[in-house]
Amino acid sequence: MPLKRRLVQAGRHAAIILFGLLMLYPVLWLILSSFKPNHLIFTTSSLIPTSFTLDHFVNGWKGLQGVSFGRFFGNSALISVMSVLGNVISCSLAAYAFSRLKFKFKGLWFSIMLVTIMLPYHVTLVPQYILYNELHWINTYFPLILPKWLAQDSFFILLMVQFIRGIPRELDESATIDGCGQSQIFFRIVVPLLVPALITTAIFTFIWSWDDFFSQMIYLSKIDLFTVQLGIRSLFDPSGQSDWGALLAMSTLSLLPVTIIFLVFQRYFLEGIATTGLK
């Protein structure tokens, strides 16, 4: 009964689309409301703005105390890019050692690395803060970036280890015969083949560091060091008058970089997550 099947198919499609719209409703509301004038944002429930304004983007961009959101975006970008570089470099180095090299205590270090993936950050938070305090690194970006350069996001080490294990050892062997040492094998053979995992690492690192509100809040209090997340939080004043339009407009913009990266690199994203889950 092809008709019945088609109806079922159509029904299924409809359900999925409806559910999808429902899922996206908060995001759509956020984006579309940033184009509504302030007094209409909470009073009308329809998504589409009846009167359209770009004022909020202009006002919101002005930022706080003379520091514009452009500065905040720049700061967030700097932190994220430096974090990406750090993770990509340090985690790939460690992953290569774990997956390809034989060394004493390898099992011990690997187990420790696995455990640190599951370690909650509470237990290192306070001493790290004190450590950075002693070094006078509060109100700098060091506390946010340094852990990435020291491969402390061990999740990515594991990701890359799994990936490298899938690279045939014959390539290593033929390179050795040609006279390459371990580090040359790393740079010439492994790294080029590791690129998909590096991209996955880069993407996730970017997003997680962009959204890392907690660390940013603890370590940054000078306004011209603020990130986008801190900027948005500051626009939101529960005991005063928030300029909701500006808040929503800047929030919309804050979601853009992450969304663009996702759309461009979708393949790596979804395949990357799948790989981690399956191994």
Partner: protein, 304 residues
């Protein structure tokens, strides 16, 4: 011809440790060192402005005997984890199964459902969430179409946790993607064979799908659980930043933050951190140990 300076087989200690150097430095300076330090601090009173004073186990004693907020916070966090994680995984699995039937436009749907996971961790979304759950916000307006008067979600201590649970479940997309990949890996002939035997959908689900997916479920479960125990941003933004009302948004991490950075009792905060570490360790160990009984790695091999 270059001399081979290192054997390919056999020990490659120097090279390996050089490659591991950044991670090792990080491990000792940023992880192990601080862990030991925080254990020490948990037995002191320390407000960052003067040196720590040794207090022995009194922080722990106070936590377990006098601290109502600790109890409430722990209970709340547990409630949140054990409610949101299974719900999130259940949704993820259901939707993954629905999408796995070979629908056109799979890629698009997958993207749409993934977007909440992508954006959900940001302050912006948390703020939006707070607004839509207000007394006369979108959620209650929606409910009023059905004649239901919703409570003041974010103002009532009994209900505010559900807004945060909803936010977490909304982000099921990342788990869904993993399930989709896992589902694809289940050989179709397993289902065909069971069809021939006359098995219904339900039987197939419990007999084929779940066991074949169990490693993936295991992974998702562990990662989700650990992640949820540490939730902070939603609690901070949707609540009043102080765990209110009535400690109903006092997630454990928020309480730790308040004790350490607001009330300036870093020793107490360290004690709280170690207690959470032990708890998460215990639960992770439980999931690992019981995995022998329910995680099925294929090739007719049970257990690990």
């Amino acid at each position: 011809m270059r001399k081979l300076s290192k054997p390919l087989y056999g020990q490659q200690n120097m090279t390996a440790y050089l490659f591991l150097l950044p991670w090792l430095i990080g491990l000792f300076c940023l992880t192990l060192g601080p862990m030991v330090a925080s254990l020490y601090l948990s037995m002191t009173k320390f407000n960052l402005l003067s040196s720590p004073t040794w207090t022995g186990l009194s922080n722990y004693v106070q936590i377990f005997t006098e601290d109502d907020t600790f109890r409430r916070s722990l209970g709340l966090t547990f409630y949140y984890v054990f409610l949101s994680v299974p719900l999130r995984l259940a949704f993820a699995l259901l939707v993954a199964m629905a999408l796995n039937k070979g629908i056109r436009g799979l890629g698009l749907y997958r993207t749409v459902y993934y977007i909440p996971s992508l954006l959900g961790g940001s302050v912006a979304i948390a703020i939006v969430w707070r607004q839509i759950f207000e007394g006369n916000g979108l959620v209650n307006q929606f409910l009023s179409w059905f004649g239901i008067t919703g409570p003041a979600w974010i103002a009532h201590p009994d209900y505010v946790v559900y807004t945060i649970v909803t936010l977490s479940v909304w982000q099921f997309g990342s788990a869904m993607v993993i399930f989709l990949a896992g589902l694809k890996q289940i050989p179709a002939d397993l289902y065909e064979a069971s069809d021939v035997d006359g098995a219904g959908k339900v039987r197939q689900f419990f007999g084929i799908t779940l066991p074949m997916l169990s490693p993936v479920i295991f992974f998702n479960l562990i990662m989700s659980m650990i992640h949820s125990f540490q939730a902070f941003t939603p609690a901070y933004v949707i609540g009043d930043g102080r765990g209110g009302p009535l400690d109903a948004t006092m997630f454990y991490t928020l309480y730790l933050y308040l004790k350490g950075f607001s009330f300036f009792d870093m020793g107490y905060a360290s004690a709280l951190a170690w207690i959470m570490l032990v708890i998460i360790g215990v639960f992770t160990a439980i999931v690992f140990l019981t995995s022998k009984f329910w995680v099925f790695y294929g090739d007719n091999q049970e257990g690990r």
